[in-house]
Symmetry: C2
Subunit: 432 residues, 2 copies
């Protein structure tokens, strides 16, 4: 019996998070954290799961996009994919008609990413390993062969990437042991949502300290007065030693960002995130150059590796915030980690949402073991909600992500959760 | 009776153009020119039509995206829209949940554009004017109030735009008369598709000359030998006076583009189009700087005005090729024409496909009358197929687009065409 994929199923799952201002910021006032969830199954019964994250309306469009890619998936053999997963990944990017809808951006890019990540999950389950261990066990050559270097040729080559991986090879087991013992450092965004009251902000900052977090992020951009008040309150609770970051969620024009953030410089900000349009590489560069001393971060809306190439290689940003669902699967994400390593930029992945924390822990652990080999200035975002819907949720201990030990990509949701939050017919929505 | 929009309908219409290699190039080997077609109707019976262009697979995703925006459209009053069309346009961009799927790029951006353009069509029909005359009749203030300047504040302001329009105001009727007499210059891509034989290339070049075209574009990038052969053949037919352009459709890495195009420099190329990834602003700038003398063009895959801002204001390109369906309607497209005018770059719109020629003729005529006030180095792409499906098709005379005279945006298709080419149940597809 072959091991061909014979089933692809998609579900629109949405959580009514907007009811509690959870996730609210200057741009995204009322997110309902949602997933376009995909399940694959082979003839022999191998299964793989993936999702892409959205914030509510439009999640159905993403499901439609996954469905539209059915013909690129059904009939593919897991054994063939294991021999050349790049080919499988590449067929989505190169589909001669679908590519018009991107190319390599937005809905179709995210949909392809959800499918390819589901195949990574299937592969890791088949090997009985968590995804981060599957990839850290690859030979250096096999590892680099998965990475997408298309359109990056002017700044990095596969040969350079192989050199980086080979240099780290002899010490990789030390780093694996270290991760298993101490985990990977996290920062929390839970206290700082825009819609929270001042009291709630203070209480949650205190809780974050008690949980061992050393980095806390607040949403800003509604008004300068309110930002100053919230930052003052936060500093009054967390003191001067804990790192404080701010996130403007694209609210400002380029010059406005420079003026506004300059007004907040006295709060000793570790970075400012998404100061303006995520597409504006030159704008970020101008902001970074003018704000000397406050580091600039972006990436949760950075559409693909070509945009990251420009942001990184032209010193437009200091902190690289990949999003595990916006980029097209591990195959593209690793190329961004590679670029960041070459140019000495830390990657601090975007997380929160639903499933993002589960995904990104694997990615940063792969980076630490095989690519950057460094934890300096590197923290993974953490938000504490919605993990209970996953069979293998991420685990935080003393402010760090503990490495996943179960086979797969940690993204499989409980069938009961899917059933309950299915949109629009699940009980969570029927009640409204 | 109010004039609220009470009906939104979407149809997936596809034409099997891949059968004849029509539209084939280095990246897009087998396009089936397609439209996600939208029809709106108000309570009083006003109707408006719009479409977005794709090349086949995934057209259903675009229809799903239009459907997902239904709640932003139904109930809007045409009279209110006339008072503030920017507000209507802006609600798609700013939807606090849908924007996660872009923001402002790909499927959701194109879907919003199709809807807003349908409203422009409805408005123009209601006034009994073609769209280009509707907008050239606006007061300067009304005209500028339609334009999207969000995220452009570091390079252009509404005040500067108003200055440009006011300077042109006193002479605009001369340019309207000139357009009505001579039309707007076009170039043709019909002879140069990649899949055509050498004989077909020569015959079609000859025909283009006879039709009065002064600019011809060929697809390149399959192999250097073949490119040289095809360019030699074309030059042997068209001589040295006709402008010759090449289009690589994103096939090259940045450095490869520089080497490859340098090898073709002796053919006296008027511009090279899409030499690499459309997202790579710095890459285009490097190519342009190295290829001194051969102008660089891009834009048919340029996702939004922020990318154009960077390409234009940083001298990364010479020729601006807006796509009428990729950008979000007239409201965003005018901001790109405005940027191009400020920086002295000609706009030569992408067309062909289906409906693109019908749309862009209006846009460039508006530009000539109100913004750039120049025809120098400006030509609109023209491809001769599929116009027979439109009730008010574009008309080419002596190599120029003659101005549309019927009310609307020229984009309404014959019901019989829609019925026949509807995918997958229309007769054109059932036969396969």
């Amino acid at each position: 019996m072959s091991n061909r994929i014979i089933s692809l199923r998609t579900v629109d799952v949405r959580f009514p998070t907007s009811k509690s201002s959870y996730g609210s910021d200057a741009t995204n006032s009322d997110p309902d954290y949602s997933a376009a969830y995909v399940s694959l199954e082979t003839e022999r019964g191998n299964r793989g799961f993936g999702l892409l994250f959205t914030i509510g309306r439009g999640n159905d469009i993403c499901c439609a996009a996954i469905e539209a890619m059915r013909d690129l998936v059904i009939g593919s053999d897991l054994d063939d994919i294991k021999n050349d997963i790049y080919e499988f990944y590449n067929r989505f990017r190169c589909d001669s008609q679908l590519r018009w809808l991107g190319p390599e951006k937005g809905v179709v890019h995210m949909a392809a990413g959800a499918i390819v990540n589901a195949v990574w999950d299937m592969w890791a389950r088949d090997e009985g390993k968590p995804v981060w261990r599957l990839l850290t066990d690859f030979t250096p050559e096999q590892f680099v062969s998965c990475i997408d270097f298309r359109y990056l040729g002017d700044v990095i080559s596969a040969e350079e990437a192989l050199d980086i991986v080979q240099i780290n090879e002899s010490s990789k087991h030390e780093r694996i042991s270290e991760l298993e013992k101490y985990g990977y450092p996290a920062y929390t965004t839970s206290p700082g949502w825009m819609g929270y009251s001042d009291d709630k902000l203070k209480i949650l900052c205190q809780e974050a300290l008690e949980q061992g977090f050393k980095h806390i992020k607040l949403k800003v951009g509604e008004s300068l007065e309110r930002d100053k008040k919230r930052l003052t309150l936060a500093r009054s609770v967390i003191g001067d030693d804990v790192k404080l970051m701010i996130d403007a969620n694209q609210i400002w024009e380029v010059d406005q960002a420079i003026d506004w953030v300059s007004e907040l410089a006295s709060f000793d900000l570790w970075f400012v995130e998404e100061p303006t349009c995520p597409d504006d590489v030159f704008g970020h560069k101008k902001i970074r150059d003018k704000l000397k001393g406050i580091r600039v971060a972006t990436g949760e809306h950075c559409q693909n590796r070509v945009m990251f190439k420009q942001l990184i290689s032209n010193d437009a940003i200091d902190v690289v915030q990949i999003d595990s669902c916006r980029l097209c699967s591990i195959n593209e994400i690793l190329s961004v980690y590679m670029l960041a390593a070459k140019y000495g930029k830390p990657v601090c992945p975007h997380a929160g949402g639903i499933g993002l924390c589960e995904y990104v822990q694997h990615l940063s652990m792969i980076d630490y073991v095989r690519i950057s080999a460094s934890l300096t200035n590197r923290v993974i975002e953490y938000v504490e909600y919605l993990h209970e819907h996953f069979e293998d949720p991420c685990i935080i201990r003393n402010g760090s992500y503990m490495p996943p030990m179960s086979p797969g990509f940690s993204i499989k949701m409980f069938p009961e959760s899917i059933e309950h939050y299915k949109f629009p017919k699940g009980k969570a929505w029927a009640k409204n």
